[in-house]
Symmetry: C2
Subunit: 351 residues, 2 copies
Amino acid sequence: MARSKQKEKQIIDRIKEGRSRSETTDELAQLILSGNRSALARAITLIESTQEADLSKADALMRILLPHSGNSFRVGISGVPGAGKSTFIESFGLSMIQAGKKVAVLAVDPSSETGKGSILGDKTRMNELASNSNAFIRPSPSSGALGGVARKTREAIFLCESAGYDLILIETVGVGQSETAVHSMVDFFVLIALAGAGDELQGIKRGIMEMADLVVMNKADGDNLPRAKAARMDVQRALHFFPELPSGWIPEVTLASSLERTGLDAIADSMNRYQHHCKTNGYFDLHRKEQSRWWLKETIQHALVDLFFAQENIQTELAQREEQIIAQQQSVSEAARYLIDLFKGTGINPK
Amino acid sequence: MARSKQKEKQIIDRIKEGRSRSETTDELAQLILSGNRSALARAITLIESTQEADLSKADALMRILLPHSGNSFRVGISGVPGAGKSTFIESFGLSMIQAGKKVAVLAVDPSSETGKGSILGDKTRMNELASNSNAFIRPSPSSGALGGVARKTREAIFLCESAGYDLILIETVGVGQSETAVHSMVDFFVLIALAGAGDELQGIKRGIMEMADLVVMNKADGDNLPRAKAARMDVQRALHFFPELPSGWIPEVTLASSLERTGLDAIADSMNRYQHHCKTNGYFDLHRKEQSRWWLKETIQHALVDLFFAQENIQTELAQREEQIIAQQQSVSEAARYLIDLFKGTGINPK
């Protein structure tokens, strides 16, 4: 550790002295391994870049750092806007830092644009956590389709792990698709719910409830406590209607208050028991391998579809065929076969 | 109608007399339009064929018949094995025929193999319906991946419609993926559930409950009636935890007994109200157009992935890259980019 600190200093000094105009990939990797947060931030910017020149640098960096990744607990956090995700992440993150963890917070929000109030876009919402030296907070990549945004976030997880962060929290907006993407990169999925007046769980999108390993009834404080307790029972009953999770874990429901900072220990406890459960039955490693295979297939599939639809002649024909299908003049099979044949004939020459 | 019957007779006579060795595509189409069931069966066999020579014949047939398709109500029927789907379909189908409908029953069961007890494989399970002249029953295509099986079934729907069937029931096994495929080809989705001892809804796969427009608590008869009533309330309560359907329809739960043939009118009534609701708010047509677009995209995507993985050099490299990813030696991004570049270089030359 002392050696790596020394090395970090050497690299920083060298850069400051202007002996090298910019750090090499190897130097950047060394800084990250020594836990340097601004190097980590630069590395994430690098892997988020779509510039041709950055791609091979990013590949090289990942090759150095990947062997150092994997040693964290990856937690997805979802919930409708207003459920108090940010406040929850701040309280929970701080309590985990007190317990000795290094906490990184990432986000997947494909709709986000800088300055448009995206999740984590405004770090001031997590003031106390952001200023803690054992925390690292990074907003969602600000542009691109969900698949790309999520893939970058997944690689940011590996970077954070190689920088020594052992609890990674990935926040997501409660809008369905991004949940699926986040679910496929985490070990544990938390849904932050809110006990309101009667229809407390309205607004939670289809399919999200059944991904949850843990449902946190948030804002369980003051006048709201009885409602939160009732909602907890409702959710527990509802969870019976969801079949067993592939991990064999039985989802739990806890109460929490970010305001009073209560219920956080129960959440940490649930996560610990989950890890024990899944490491004992072998699901933990198996699941991560499955996730890697899934992401490879998913990434290839998206790239193929992009390649296909980038062909100009395909674009023109596609619109026409779609019209014909809707007008009941041609079958989907025929149209698809025609377009694929056209694609084969292009000799693939993406812009 | 008299004219088309006459034409049908002419065609059949011509074939019998040996003047033409086999019917032309146009003749086959005319027979189907006149409601000839064996012609319909032959046409479905044709569109299920993967023989190169049959593809253009199938395309030509679909081009003639598609303009005559669309005039039916398409209903997906799901439920765990043992829930009594076949018996339900027989009772319900017969009651709808009594009400003046022509009923076609199709199936999506990607795991089915002839003679292995697949759904609908054994027509004797629907003896009475099968022998009714206003019913047409067709088992699932017996081989192929889900996407292909489902696409063929979707095209079989159009053929049945052009033969005058105005209620199409599509049975599916309760195993998740095939439900999604069936859901994307029907107007209305029914889940057949069973009130058992305590954990009555166990076994219903993730995501299926929330697709349902109607949940039928089956075998609500004799000693089982109180349990069915209790389960109905449980399901109604659980449905509150699912957000609104895109159609704006509020899912219903009814009791039924195929044995006593009760509850069938309420189901028909629910379907009628659903149609009224969705035709009034415009969802019905919009949804069908969306389904067509979805199937085109889905079909292209599958064809691209098939094309990709059919390349021999890709197969070899893929296995190696997957190993490297799992061993944390390479990122998914790098591996995917490498494989796509390899694909571009092949000049695409599928087997």
